[in-house]
């Protein structure tokens, strides 16, 4: 129960002589989101509390329209907070920034740029003092990691959906964010491509261990990728309904996960929550 122990550990501790407030990377405290409508306020999220540890991969599952995406875009700083607060390493979030990389549901690549230029757009921004060659090497490294070796100079629009989302993954990792936010990144892909991209994502993640929060609709995806699966109740006033720790060894393979004794137990737990 690795994550369970992490979960309770919020005390101050010292690493290499530097004071870290805790092992908490991302702290959502009493988070609230209200959309004003002509008929009065519509409360999307209320009293939402969640702490995500460093190097943790959390997936969030819940019914459509329950406010998952709202929560994620609030963490990204793209959507203002109505109440409560969000902190990254103790610093409250004020607007978007490259310390929180986002992989959107649609690949959101600039279609007039090549794959390399799309990744470079972020890299140039985050490493302005590196030489041009160094920056290019970073971008190329991540494109290589997502398996796009031959497609550096292809225009984004000439790439398939799956390939575009690979570039999206490369772009997000290449800016070395503290937190990676993934908004149903594989939702628009067919199941074969989805599996491929999950493998690619988890392979890079195993190396980089960037704290990740991912929204998904897919129960198997949630289990395969996560250390913890957070289940959200249906809106309005959605909050955290339940949290499931996934105790599979890392690095994991799809095969080992599927063959694990606990797999169906986890799966049943999630499906029961969703059908509830």
């Amino acid at each position: 129960m690795k994550t369970a122990t992490l979960n309770t550990d919020t005390s101050t501790l010292s690493e290499n002589g530097i004071q870290y407030p805790s092992k908490v990377m991302l702290d959502l405290h009493n988070l609230k989101k209200v959309y004003p409508t002509p008929k009065g306020d519509y409360v999307v999220l209320e009293d939402l509390n969640l702490q995500i540890m460093k190097e943790e991969f959390v997936t969030i599952i819940g019914h459509s329209g329950c406010g998952k995406t709202t929560m994620l875009s609030m963490i990204a700083g793209l959507n203002p907070i109505s109440g409560g607060n969000i902190a990254v390493l103790g610093n409250p979030v004020k607007g978007p920034g490259p310390d929180r990389g986002v992989i959107f549901q649609a690949p959101s690549l600039m279609p007039w740029m090549t794959a390399l230029e799309n990744v470079m757009l972020g890299v140039n921004q985050v490493f302005p003092h590196a030489s041009k060659k160094e920056r290019k090497d970073i971008a190329k490294y991540y494109l290589h990691k997502v398996g796009l070796d031959g497609s550096f100079d292809k225009k984004a629009i000439a790439l398939s959906q799956g390939m575009q989302q690979r570039v999206g993954i490369a772009r997000a990792f290449a800016i070395k964010p503290k937190v990676l936010l993934l908004d149903e990144p594989f939702g628009m892909l067919d199941s074969l491509t989805r599996g491929e991209l999950q493998d690619i994502l988890i392979e890079i993640w195993n190396k980089e261990k960037i704290t990740a929060v991912m929204i998904t609709h897919d129960v198997d995806e949630a289990i395969f990728l996560a250390d913890r699966v957070v289940m959200m109740t249906s809106g309005p006033s959605a909050k955290i309904g339940d949290i499931l720790n996934i105790d599979f060894e890392r690095p994991r393979t799809r095969k080992s996960v599927l063959e694990h004794n606990d797999y169906y137990k986890y799966r049943k737990h999630l499906i029961e929550f969703l059908e509830h």
Binding site: G77, L78, P96, G97, P98, R100, F104, S108
Partner: protein, 368 residues
């Protein structure tokens, strides 16, 4: 095979997709559907041209007869039977002085077209001879600090075309330089957009004639003590002001409706305002900007003729007006020649813009 693919791509890019059946016929083994396509896309349009010429011929013959009868009846009423017979014989003989003046037939227009080309050859030769004759003298004059002697003879029809093209491009460039930056600025800010909206809505529908008068008022005062070509300045500024609105509105719309995903990416990456505009907003609104520019160019070409006509500025517009005033026997057919030339040049300009638009746009759309 590769060659034919690139050929197709080029024709596609230029919006000449209708040429595909021909290229298909000549680049590979013609298939049955190629032949059907050839019939559908080449033969039927050719038939439509023939039909057009037929209607034109019929119409002009009918008008000719009506005018001729009118002339004969008038002669009969005024001067009696003998004069009427004389008029009849005169018209039948093709004598120029008594021909009814009405809609010219296709063959008359074609003849006028050839006359205009001949005329151009004569004038060009004349110009060249003048240049050679005055070359030595002009050198001396320039050396002595005097203005060189320039050719002041009548411009040929082809010269008029180039003058018009020059004016329309100057006007188009002016529209581009004014409308695109303002469109971007207005598109970026909702406040500016709503505060300038009244101005756009009011001035967009103003007729070219009124713009011309406005420009005339201002330019006349500004160029009072200079000997610059004010007719040219007035006409190109008027063309620019008339035609820039489509670009302004489209640019503002393109900039304000950039895909939210791209804006979010720019926000997450914390791009600076300049980078945001040049790397994200402008490239993504290019297709709409070019749609605007394409409309601007075709509007510019359309209003140019009217403006030249009014501003006494040389070009196709004044050519048409002069021919109309002239009232010579082939004036009407020269006007029709000018009409076709104007139409064809307008079409070509539109195709050029479409080609550029397709080259810069990331989502390729077929030419309409």
């Amino acid at each position: 095979m590769k060659q034919s693919i690139t050929l197709n791509k080029i024709t596609q890019l230029m919006g000449f997709g209708f040429l595909k059946p021909i290229t298909a016929l000549f680049t590979g083994k013609p298939q049955k559907e190629d032949v059907v396509n050839f019939l559908k896309k080449i033969i039927v349009p050719l038939l439509s041209i023939l039909l057009f010429l037929g209607v034109w011929q019929g119409g002009s013959t009918a008008l000719f007869n009506k005018e001729a009868n009118f002339k004969i009846e008038k002669a009969l009423a005024d001067q009696g039977q003998a004069a009427a017979d004389e008029m009849k014989a005169c018209i039948a003989s093709g004598e120029i002085s008594c021909q009814p003046n009405t809609l010219p037939s296709p063959s008359q227009v074609w003849a006028s077209f050839k006359t205009l080309l001949e005329d151009h050859k004569v004038i060009s030769a004349d110009k060249l001879a003048f240049k050679e004759k005055t070359a030595a003298m002009n050198e001396k004059r320039v050396a002595a600090g005097k203005e060189p002697i320039t050719y002041t003879g009548r411009p040929s029809f082809v010269d008029q075309i180039f003058t018009s093209l020059k004016t329309v491009f100057a006007g188009f460039l002016l529209a581009l330089v004014i409308a695109v930056p303002i469109g971007v600025v207005i598109g970026l800010s909702t406040t500016l957009r709503s505060s300038f909206n009244w101005l756009i809505q009011i001035f967009k529908p103003v007729s070219p004639v009124v713009w011309l008068l406005l420009v005339f008022m201002i330019v006349k005062t500004l160029t009072k003590d200079s000997n610059s070509d004010s007719a040219f300045i007035i006409s190109f500024i008027s063309v620019g002001l008339c035609s820039m609105w489509a670009t302004l509105v489209n640019t503002a719309m393109g900039v304000s409706s950039v895909d939210k995903d791209y804006i979010n990416v720019a926000k997450v990456l914390k791009l600076g305002p300049m980078q945001k505009v040049f790397k994200v907003i402008l490239p993504s609104s290019l297709p709409l900007i070019f749609t605007g520019l394409r409309i601007t160019l075709s509007v510019a070409w359309m209003v140019l003729i009217a403006i030249e006509l009014l501003a006494q500025s040389p070009g196709l517009g004044s050519f048409v007006w002069e021919e109309f005033q002239n009232g010579a026997i082939d004036s009407n057919s020269k006007i029709i020649v000018a009409m076709f030339i104007i139409g064809i040049i307008g079409f070509l300009l539109d195709r050029i813009m479409l080609t550029i638009q397709n080259m810069v746009s990331f989502n390729k759309n077929e030419g309409v």
